[in-house]
């Protein structure tokens, strides 16, 4: 189906959505690398191994907690931050720039995983400046808004 997010594109999709994301990897349920945002396979594989080890270590560290296994992890270190989120089928990990908002990164991880699992696609809004820079045509105007533009009728009346 057109527009469906594939595992191969998921990590790249996350980096496209978030300007704070530097690199991302997707692992399948077995912990194997399913997608990477980087074209260097060695680096992608190394990042995937670390992401898998991250959840393994967190699971060991929180084994005694009287809670459900962790769904998301955030690691803040001097040069940046690593975030990871998992579902029964997938694990998505991302490295973010220093100062990235945790809540936004965690939300993006959940949203992209939901899209991968067949949820609604994430809608990306067009910045107002970008939209304004496009050359306007009457067809565009007619298709975009049913509200008549102010000033246009006044021009017609004068002529």
């Amino acid at each position: 189906m057109a527009g469906t997010l594939t595992p191969e594109r998921t990590a790249t999709r996350l980096c496209e959505l978030s300007s704070d994301a530097r690199a991302a990897v997707l692992l399948d349920a077995a912990g194997a690398l399913a997608g990477s945002s980087d074209s260097d396979p060695e680096r992608g594989r190394a990042l995937g191994d670390l992401a898998r080890e991250l959840f393994e270590t967190v699971d060991r560290a929180t084994r005694d907690w009287d809670t459900e296994p962790a769904e998301q992890v955030e690691v803040q270190v001097p040069g940046g931050a690593a975030f990871a989120s998992r579902t029964p089928r997938w694990t998505l990990a991302v490295v973010a720039r220093r100062g990235a908002l945790s809540s936004l990164m965690l939300y993006d991880l959940r949203a992209v995983l939901a899209e991968l699992e067949g949820g609604p696609p994430i809608r990306v809004a067009t910045p107002a400046k970008e939209a304004a820079s496009r050359r306007a045509s009457e067809e565009d105007a007619a298709s975009e808004s049913p509200v008549p533009e102010l000033g246009r009728d006044a021009d017609r009346e004068e002529t």
Partner: protein
Amino acid sequence: MKERRRGPIGRAADLAEGVAAAVRRMQREREPRVLVYDQTGYARLLQPEARGHERILEIGERMVQLAAGEDAGGGARGGGPEAGA
């Protein structure tokens, strides 16, 4: 209730308190830390003395280093694990 200071000295003191609080907050945010979230989004801090804390920070640092290398390399966006192989 804390009595509100009035006058220019009071306002300057309030401002200084605000700046000091902001600096403290920024320092706290810069400290290495591990947060674990459950399904409801409830966050728990993994205490520094907890088992695995050091290793998790090492993993995080290694991931950040790898990504920094990626930025420096300017690698094109990839895809599956075989991409670029």
